[in-house]
Symmetry: C2
Subunit: 331 residues, 2 copies
Amino acid sequence: MVSSKDVAKRAGVSQSTVSRVMNDPLKVSKIARESVLHAMEELNYRPNSVARSLVNKKTKSIALISGPLHNPFFVETTTSIVNSAKQHGYHTNVHFENFGDNMSLYKDVLSHQFDGLILSSIFYKDPIYEELKKLDVHFVMFNRKHQSGGHYVEIDNIAAGRLAAEHLLKLGHRDIAWIGGDLKTSTFHGRHKGYLDAVTEQGIQIPEHFIQVNDTTRVEVHRAIESMLARKQRPTAIFAATDSIAIFILDYLHEKGYSVPDDISLIGMDNIEWSSHHSFQLTTVGHDGPKNLGQLAIEHLMDLMNSEKKEEEINITVEPKVFVRKTTKEL
Amino acid sequence: MVSSKDVAKRAGVSQSTVSRVMNDPLKVSKIARESVLHAMEELNYRPNSVARSLVNKKTKSIALISGPLHNPFFVETTTSIVNSAKQHGYHTNVHFENFGDNMSLYKDVLSHQFDGLILSSIFYKDPIYEELKKLDVHFVMFNRKHQSGGHYVEIDNIAAGRLAAEHLLKLGHRDIAWIGGDLKTSTFHGRHKGYLDAVTEQGIQIPEHFIQVNDTTRVEVHRAIESMLARKQRPTAIFAATDSIAIFILDYLHEKGYSVPDDISLIGMDNIEWSSHHSFQLTTVGHDGPKNLGQLAIEHLMDLMNSEKKEEEINITVEPKVFVRKTTKEL
DNA sequence: AGATTATTTGAATACGTATTCAAGTGTGTG
DNA sequence: CACACACTTGAATACGTATTCAAATAATCT
């Protein structure tokens, strides 16, 4: 490893001068500067970012705790976050939510230094929030939020859940099932609540097995839909709390010979790119903007890190709308 | 920031002792150890990984340069790599291939320290290879390889291209188009060569516009297929060099009212999870193992980093097979 | 020219941890 | 009791960079 000291020796100057040509070239004479640059070339010098981080107390890297990539929503946000961070000169350490034991994940993530954190893994009542506050790390939540507030970027999940349910109700459906993930997250909690509110307002009673809360993996979703359809009383429409879940359901239904929407209507949520694929044509609810939630999150994290205005909280709630396509139909 | 010095003061010992309870607890007396642990608790001490990295010359992190996530193949490999690295105690810095200017990307990636690198962005003749060798970084390539060898994990692309073409030939097709990405990569080069070999052996002449080399984004693929179908002489079958491309093509064809495979046959490559989705049922060529190429790459990188056996090169070429599903049909 | 100010430089130090080295303590042996 | 030996400890140093500080040199002004 060639260090700035080696460069200094070669160039016949002090290590300080080498450091200066990198950080403040105008503070050093032309003759010395060129000599240093030349020595750098010769030795193929690469500054050590770790040493630099130690003294600067900046790593120029952020951490991202994303939901699993089998949900395309997180594919889109991860891409945006990584690329946008890079644009701002930051590297991104990517982690995936660890179902069942997020605490050990947080411990792992926090064992390395970083300048900022973006996470979508938080529960509405999650002790990690206070932990992060105490450690004074800059963080913004996206897709989910915490009961205590903090910086977050979300969609109005309650409104979105309501919109989805109302779309189905308007089509004459009354037996509407809900399949989603853990209600301890603000996301699923809101989408569930909006749905239940809308349906209850119509005086509709939802049988217990119409509501399935599961892990959001393909196998778990298939298990959920299978157990639901095994019962005598079947829904005429299904509200999947994410497009990812909806697409898994679609897979199952097609496999089993059901026709969508003729046999059963299906609406998703998030308006991911896949949902508009002509093999799916998934009706969904989502945000209609040029920037996804990840993009919004990273931009605000950058603001947060580069201008110490920690006073004002960033609370962004974008409005949802229905994207009517081909998987829902009048009863 | 509370440092080991602060802990030492609080516990009434030296900083050395604090360091020892973390790295070699048996070397310190029980009484001192407990005092230190107690002080750590009280002060909520977190060791600074940057300082630790500086002296250890290990960052416990790797860098990944992946293809774009709009290709689900890279979704699967990225997930495997990140999770497996975590399993081994490593964090993963994720980067995405920068079409048009990978050199500036490499420069950026190399500006931070890391213990190992996994990349799928390399060209068959890429100067970065020598650069990496010179810098003595541990790296393994996956999905693509370099002319000079090095450590790599790939599928037999030539054989795979041949298999795809032969599948279509066996079904009676002779007007077979090829749509793929940059031929400067070993991947597309091999898949193209295998196809061309098989087709040429049958004495078939492929018109120029049957071969489209493009960026692999959705819009570019749509542009390619559109321009191809605008011509008078149309293919009866298309070989898409990745499943991702095939699925984009499927989207386009369905949008334009074509029926697959009745109007046109389509075969992909990679056997990604999406390809078996019942809305696609994509016939494809791929590897039939429990571990994807990313998984294999990370495992070998770990070997490489943790046991200085740099002598033997890791050259893994898995065998492809055809997965016949519903997008190809007898002419 | 002499005095003042601006520019350029290197020595020293700091960042937070791990490790070497020597000194100190205590234990057991002959 | 003298000696060897194991154990425990802290001071000092190293990792590679940035920065402060004071000294040296060059440039400017009266």
